[in-house]
Every structure is written in C-alpha cells, then in structure tokens.
Amino acid sequence: MIELSGLTKVYNQGRPNQVEALRGVDLAIADGRVTVLRGPSGSGKTTLLTLIGCLARPTTGRIRIDGETVSGLPERFLTQVRRRTFGFVFQRFNLVRGLSALDNVMLPALPLGVAHRRLKEKAFALLDHFGIAERAGLAVESLSGGEAQRVAIARALINDPAVVIADEPTASLDGERVGQFIAIADELKRSGKTVLITSHDPRITRAAIVDTLVTMADGRIVEGTP
C-alpha cells in the first residue's frame, strides 16, 4: 500500500523559472491493482510518478510505503527502497546505448552481487518470455519501438519488484503493440504486482484491466481519489 499525504513539488524554488508541479496531492494506491493516472501534459502526473518511485523528493508532504515513511530518508536508504520495491518503465525507455538488450536487462541487478550465470539466465528467460530472445545479443539502438519497450519492461522486472511503474507506455506504439502492452500489464497484475501507469491515451484509460482511474489537472487530483 502506498500512501501519499499533502504532497507538493516545486522546481527551481525561489528562482524566476519556479514551477509548482504538484500543489497538494493525497492518494492511496492499493496493492495488486492497476492504477492509471490521467491528465494533460503539465498536469503533474509524471512528477507524481517520480515522487512515488522515490526518484525525487517532495518539497512538502509525506510518502509511506507499507506503513514506512520513505520521503524523509537519506539518499542511500531511498535508493535501497527504490531498488527493492519499484521497477520503472520510462516513457523514452532510457535504455543504455551501446549495450545489448541482455546487458540492459541485467543492469539493475549488477550492484546486488547476484551470481553472474544465474543473472544472465534469468535475464534471458525474461526476454524469452516477452518474445524477443533472438534480439538478446543485439545493441538496443537496432531494436524497434515495441521491442525496446519490452526490453525496458524486462529490465524493470529483473529484481522482482512489488510495484511496476510505467510512464506513458503507449506514447510511441501502434494499435497492436498497445494491446500487447495491456496484456503484459494484466499478466503482472495477476502475478500479484501493483501496476501504476500514467497515460492520456484513451486506449489505456478505458481498458478493462484498470482498477482505479485518477484524473489530474494543474498539479492536483480532480477526480478519482478513493
């Protein structure tokens, strides 16, 4: 269970280009469900995702994960929480160029000191599961958009996180790929993971798998707080 209370986020505080991305957000995200944050660009949904995933700190407010307050933790512990709990699929995938798909999938697990052979096999199995085993040895620049996304998803899953976060996953995909992504999200939900997605794509927001739909505008939640 992820609980957010009174979250605000201000970028460039005190400077002329100050931006209030979040203006007070209260939200509870249930375990094992698919939650979708929707809203136009600039509504703050990406910022909210960033804060939930412990990629940045809130300016004010509190984040609790399974009863534990994480928003005030020092950076080192925050990284451990992030590592343990979350798997990220970024909007632009953010794969490391020059490395193969397999290397990219293994990346999050390298600092954990997992045995090399086992890690490699697990990563390969993930890629195989998503149907791109043949591309495992190729550099990620040579992959198509859909393949790259599946590599990004596999990478997000390598450490068996409880929560999978996807930021605008369908931004660069065609209709068939969107369906594939929804199927993957459904599978993750059924395996007990919490799925958190931001999207303003109606194919996502109206999908059957969505348990909770939260609408945001102008840094606030305007609809759908449970």
């Binding site: 960033t50 990629l55 940045a56 700190r57 950076e75 080192r76 990284t79 451990q80 992030r82 590592r83 990220f88 970024f90 953010n94 794969l95 490391v96 160029r97 020059g98 490395l99 290397d103 990346l107 999050p108 390298l110 600092p111 954990l112 000191g113 997992v114 045995a115 090399h116 990478r155 450490n159």
Partner: protein
C-alpha cells in the same frame, strides 16, 4: 562467490563493456598514455642504470687528479711538478698520466689515446701494439691481430697491431680508448720527454683527501685538483632531471598527464550524465556509480602505466635503449654498446605510477560525484 565480491566483479565487467563501446577512442587513449609513460620510464630506468654503473665503476678512480692550468686552459704537467707532488705527506703514490684526444677521420670519431701507468706492469702495452675499446674496434672493424693506423693532426703516422679488445662489460668507461706504449704516444703527438697530461694521486688515508688536496694546491698554485668526490658528483649528474633534455621530457610528460586529467575533470558529456541518471533511476547507489567510474579510469590509466613500464624495461635492458642512441650519440658517432645491469628503482617507478594514475582517477571523481549524488530525476530532465 560472496555478493560483495560478485558486485565488484560485475562493476568491473560493466566498466570493461563501457570502455569497449568506444573502442577506438579508449584504445587510442591507452596507447598515447602508454607512450608518454614509456618515454618517461625509459629515461628513468636508463638514467638510473647508467648512474648506478658509473658510480660503481668510478668508485675505483684516482682519489685526486692534478691538472696544470694556464690562462684558464689545461696545460701539460712537467716532471718538476710531479716531483713536487711526490714529496707531499699523505700521498701514497704519484702517477703521471699521458692521454689525449684524437679525431680519426677513418672512423669518423673521437678517440681517447692513453698510455697505461707504469706502476701496473700487467697493463703495459708493447711498442708497436695497441689495446682498443670495443667502440673503436667497431668503428675501424678491428680484431685481435689486425693493424690499426692512426694519423695525428700534424700528419704523423702510427702503425700498430691490436693485441686486445677491452671486454664489453667495461664499455661504459673504455669504449673509445686506444692504449699505446709511451714512446709511440710521444712520437705520435710530438711530445718531448718530461711532460705529462696530468697527475693522478693515490692517497694513503681516504679521509685525508681534502687536506691533501689543499696542501697540494698550496705547493702547486697553478694547478687544479679534482677529487674522487667531484667525479662521483659528475657521475650522479648524468641524465639528471634537473635540466636539459631530461627536464624537457619530464615537463612535457607532466603536461600530457595534466591535459588528460583536465579533460576528465572538466565535466561529463551529456551522454555520460544521462547514463548516470539512468543507472541511478534503475536502482544504483551513488557509491556504485563512483565505483564504476573509478574502475573505468583505473583500467585506462593502470594498463597504460603497466604497458608503458614493461615496454620501457624491455627497451632499456633488452635493446640497450636503442631509441635514445641518435640523441645520445650527438656528434660523437661512437656509442658504447652497453649491456646495462637490469634493476628497478621502486621509488622512481612508484612516483611515476602515482603521477600517471592518481590525477586521472581523481579528475574523474569530482564531476561524477556531483552528478551521481543529485536526484536522478533532475539528471534526466
């Protein structure tokens, strides 16, 4: 394997893979780096070896050498001067020496012609014979039993038979020597009897050398006295880092290291920053990122150092520092074939290692640390 060890190995794997993504650039960096280290280490090893051998060999030199001076230039010593020195207390033996330089157009080189001191009968050269150093033998293609013809500046002709070529192990001090019999020498240079080039003094008590030299200079005020300590100092000044070509090389090398380090320290490229952001975002700690970058820098500078030093060692001790020969020969054209005794001055090499590796790695740390400690979200924007 223990997770901590496995983690380190993973980071090293990734560092290698990271470097391999830009193979030409990184390989080129290692090569250039290694070249600078090679030059510096070669001079270091060569200089140290020469200094060491020179010091050891010349430790047996004469305690005092007395030279006559006129108008600030060398003059010949006369028998009367030799006798004056013989009377000095504390002097065990007085050895008048006959030696001089000869430019040989046939070999296009300068030789040092010398008459072995009379006190050592084993070294005496018979009339009409010559003992030559290995450099002379090479320049004139001599062997034992062959004839050696020399022409003096005034046109005097000397014909000798080579009876011995001085061993290669003495090349450092004897390469250009031609040892002759005294009457041959005097006839060749048109020297009358009773004049000598200089006088070597053997002192009974080594601690008394300074006193004896002072006393001698009072007795022969027109003379100059060079002690063994002075010669030792000259041997130590060979290839000194404090001036000349060696200093220029050192300055150039240091500049190269500084440039390499500065390039690293001046910040990360946008691509590198983005990568660090990604690594942080997928769960890497700051310490992991820094460890990775340290491995990258350590691999480049460490291997450059090792390759440079190993190559320099081979260059100096297996190939007699052949690359330096054109520089060292200068106008002399006679370069001794040196078989230097290999050894390693650990302190000098350690200093070189520190100069090579530390600035480079340190220069990586600052921008990496700054980037890696910020929230990854800020980095990725």
């Amino acid at each position: 394997m223990h997770p901590a060890l496995e983690r380190r190995r993973h980071l090293l794997d990734f560092a290698v893979r990271s470097l391999a993504r830009r193979p030409t650039k990184n390989l080129g960096l290692v090569v250039v780096y290694a070249l600078v280290v090679f030059l510096l280490a070669s001079v270091m090893l060569f200089g140290a070896a020469i200094r060491r051998e020179a010091s050891t060999m010349l430790a047996q030199g004469p305690e005092i050498t007395a030279q006559a001076m006129v108008m600030g230039r060398h003059d010949l010593a006369r028998t009367a001067d030799v006798e004056a020195l013989r009377g000095l207390r504390g002097v065990r033996r007085v050895e008048p020496r006959l030696w001089g330089y000869l430019w040989d157009s046939a070999g296009a080189a300068n030789y040092t012609l010398m008459v072995p001191p009379a006190s050592d009968p084993a070294r005496r050269v018979a009339k009409g014979k010559a003992v030559v150093g290995e450099g002379v033998a090479r320049a004139r293609k001599l062997a034992v039993g062959k004839m050696l013809f020399l022409v003096s500046p005034s046109g005097r002709f000397l014909r000798t038979t080579v009876t011995e070529i001085l061993p290669a192990s003495t090349a450092l001090v004897s390469s250009d020597l031609v040892l002759l019999e005294e009457s041959d020498f005097r006839a060749f240079f048109e020297l009358p009897a009773g004049v000598w080039t200089d006088v070597a003094l053997v002192v009974a008590n080594p601690a008394e050398v300074k006193t004896v030299a002072e006393k001698a200079s009072l007795r022969l005020p027109g003379f100059r006295f060079v002690t063994r300590a002075d010669m030792a100092r000259t041997a130590e000044a060979l290839f000194s880092w404090r001036e000349g070509l060696a200093l220029a090389l050192l300055a150039g090398a240091l500049l190269a290291f500084v440039i390499l380090a500065f390039d690293k320290a001046s910040g990360l490229s946008a691509e590198e920053k983005r990568e660090i952001g990604i690594l942080k975002a997928i769960g890497w700690e700051t310490s992991d990122v820094i460890a990775l970058k340290l491995w990258e820098g350590g691999l480049v500078s460490g291997f450059a150092f090792l390759i440079g030093v190993v190559a320099a060692w081979g260059h100096v001790f297996l190939f007699s520092a052949g690359l330096f020969e054109p520089v060292l020969k200068g106008w002399s054209t006679l370069y001794p074939r040196l078989a230097l005794e290999p050894s390693i001055d650990a302190l000098e090499l350690a200093t070189l290692g520190v100069l090579t590796v530390v600035p480079y790695i340190a220069a990586i740390l600052v921008p990496v640390w700054r980037t890696a400690s910020t929230d990854p979200d800020a980095v990725m924007r």
